[in-house]
Symmetry: C2
Subunit: 475 residues, 2 copies
């Protein structure tokens, strides 16, 4: 492709994206394709000669667009939000165009320094503690590709500290024990498994009726493990769990962690972004005593995936766990200690210039725009929750402090309620709405996550009317 062709097709693609984004409400939220349909519609073998961009775009229209699930759709009530924004898309474009590698400071100084600044900006915007600031004595932040990677990095840091670094040499993790409720994201178990902490040593701590960890139970379990010669090393505190939007009592957990030198990680992947809004800053309660924290601008803030902000108050543990310096990566800047080499803050070596999209979004979209969206989503959710509460055919089965409601069809029998709720879930999705299911202890629930930037009261009202219609046919 010549530079002139790139200009022409680039302009076309920009316009195509604007048309796609502005028109997404007209498309079905989910693809109607069956497994194998996309593949069957494309050539099995690569072309032997270059093709025109127009030919590719024709295939995009014919196969790709009807084959995607529209996460930007206003009827997106499924999983969690994964918002983009126009400035963020341009930031990703610039990153691709510059084509730099940010593995070390020296391999692109601006890539590292802008990222450090963005982490400090986000700290300020979210109202997070100074102990995570890049200029603090022992802390700092980094962009991770996902909350799963942030969790893994937290676990590896904790593992390193709990073994005084011996794990790097011995690999012996057999006495380490981790703690979480059943509401933790799957990445906690996955990260532990990767780090060599088997499920035998992941303690599921009981939760109360709000799905919040019971601190007394945690203390009892920790003490029993110590008694048994084991080493409690990692506690995960949910600040807005995926299934149930549960918040664990982090200040009480921090007391226990402090007593026994346990790493306290707070997972605010989805809900932590609510800290952008002053009146929701209670989401940060206890984080000032955590060893590490993550939240995702790529969920509720309009910075397109991948952009997880991760902070630690103990960067020495992180560097101890992850830094390796081969000869071909040495630099005098790094050896002087004057710079950060972010390759030592993450699992991969290479890294894209992801700070650009955060910088573009904060500057061009504006924080007030993100605040307004969060306030709207929470208001719509609370209004919906009131409506659900006043309809005796439904039960709300989890707390709903922000933008997620979990509902079940009411019945005096849990089995019958589950049966009816499964039936509701079966019919909840339409071309205009997409919901997901979960299981909260023994109760099946329909999750309504209100978090797409395009969602307005119109879609929420329509979704509620639709769900009432479905239930009307069931009970």
């Amino acid at each position: 492709m010549t530079p002139d062709e790139f200009r022409r097709h680039g302009h076309e693609l920009i316009d195509w994206i604007a048309d796609h984004v502005e028109g997404v409400a007209e498309r079905p939220v989910q693809s109607a394709f069956e497994p194998g349909d996309v593949r069957a519609a494309l050539p099995e073998h690569p072309p032997t000669a270059p093709e025109s961009f127009d030919a590719v775009m024709a295939d995009v229209e014919r196969v790709i667009v009807p084959g995607i699930t529209n996460w930007q759709h206003p009827g997106w009530f499924a999983y969690f939000p994964a918002n983009t924004s126009y400035p963020s898309i341009l930031g990703e474009l610039m990153s691709a165009g510059l084509g730099v590698q940010g593995m070390s400071w020296i391999t692109s100084p601006a890539c590292t320094e802008l990222e450090t600044l963005m982490l400090d900006w986000m700290l300020e915007l979210l109202g997070l503690p100074d102990r995570f600031h890049s200029t603090s004595a022992t802390g700092g932040g980094v962009i991770q590709g996902s909350a799963s990677e942030a969790t893994l990095v937290a676990i590896l840091s904790a593992r390193h500290r709990a073994t005084n670094g011996d794990v790097n040499r011995t690999g012996d993790t057999t006495t380490l024990v981790a703690y979480s409720t059943s509401q933790a994201h799957s990445s906690i178990e996955k990260g532990l498994r990767i780090a060599g902490i088997g499920t035998d040593r992941l303690r599921i701590v009981p939760h109360d009726e709000t799905f919040s960890m019971q601190p007394d139970a945690l203390r009892t379990m920790v003490e029993a493990d110590i008694e048994a010669g084991l080493t409690p090393f990692f506690v995960n505190a949910n600040h807005g769990s995926t299934s149930s939007m549960a918040f664990d009592p982090t200040p009480a957990l921090a007391d226990i962690c402090a007593d026994h030198d346990i790493w306290l990680h707070v997972d605010g992947a989805m809900s932590g972004i609510a800290g952008l809004v002053p009146e929701f800053r209670w989401v940060n309660d206890g984080i000032e005593r955590a060893d590490s924290y993550c939240t995702n601008p790529h969920k509720w803030m309009g910075v397109n995936f991948d952009c997880t902000t991760y902070w630690t108050a103990d960067r020495a543990a992180l560097l101890g766990a992850l830094s390796i310096l081969p000869e071909y990566l040495r630099s005098s800047a790094a050896e002087s200690g004057a710079v950060i080499d972010y390759r030592d803050w993450q699992v991969p070596l290479g890294r894209r210039f992801r700070a650009l999209k955060l910088w573009f979004a904060i500057r061009c979209e504006g924080v007030d725009s993100f605040q307004a969206t969060i306030r709207d989503h929470v208001a719509m959710t609370q209004h919906l929750a009131e409506q659900i509460s006043s309809d005796s055919r439904f039960d709300i089965v989890a707390p709903h402090p922000l933008n997620l409601v979990c509902l079940a069809v009411h019945s005096d029998s849990t089995d019958r309620a589950n049966e009816l709720t499964e039936a509701l879930i079966q019919h909840a999705d339409t071309a205009d709405f997409h919901f997901t299911r979960t299981l909260l202890d023994t109760r099946v629930a329909l999750r309504i996550s209100i978090g797409a930037r395009s969602t307005t009261q119109v879609q929420v009202d329509a979704a509620w009317e639709h769900l009432r219609d479905v239930v009307g046919r069931l009970v």
Copy 2:
């Protein structure tokens, strides 16, 4: 940012990228900034009101562009190549614009199916074995973010198979032993460390004078470890090592691995892409007996980072190691077994639509274009190596079968040679060239990696003349 503003600024940015790419040779390859310069040139605190895109672009010109290292520069002889191409940039742009999540098939069917197809296309283009094909009995491929992540996934798969899956429950890795030469990429040690295999159980297998693993030494070490009650579980074979472009004798290693049921991973991160060219397909020797393999289209093929192609012949081990199915991610498509959920093939949960950039590059840039580039780079490297060989002031200190030459200043004393080579390295970089240093056993070397798509004979000649000038002043 309104849709109209996005269109306008998007067009501007496309043109800006074309100007930047076409003009990159006029810029210095490295930034002249000192540590802290970028940060000092930007506001310490986020803005309270939205700013114009023009204001951001002014800061990009003022701070970001002078602050980057230009990996796309024709004088890029450092580290390894990290090429972009215009169609690939457009693929990344489309991925950002669509804003879909490819964690499961159901969360965007086209994202999964196009990726599977691209892995099969790459298999065919590279001349790799059918055992990795998506329709094979036990294999398949996936795009990883980096070779480091591919390596980690290989190690986790191997760990799972060697423990019959017990590791997921017990976390006990204390008897597992891994093998590699000193030439392995740092991600081997890092991946092992993450997986709980300490450096005590990473055996550095002796290499010969071409930095190639000695199979007899491997067999002896493996047998000694078995004798000692340990479990050899993972052998890493380099196909083009970072420091020295060494190729390990994979067919011979495969015999040993087969005898003792050891996972054989082949790391062709940089050099494997040479398989696009029929006459360089010797880079694949032995891969038909490997359990896993990776190479990076984001290095030598013009697909911008991140795009590592990873294949395994044992997807059951991979899924055993990495799949976790929480309630909120269940789908009937997945449970029927008819689809791939790529979240179970990688460390993170979330994933971008990275197959687009590979698809766009293969179709619009054309494989013949990538083949021509590889042939040119190899020819320029071989010509340079001849010139170096005929200049008695230099020694070539590693094999140079493809596009890397490692040279040292000649001296009968290694200490003196190292001293002179360090001095050469000190003066090798200019505004027009960037090289990196390495250490090969006891010998300091200057690496000349010829792999940027913009590099022509002009820059190679100029670089060689410059290096001779520097050495002329040293000896």
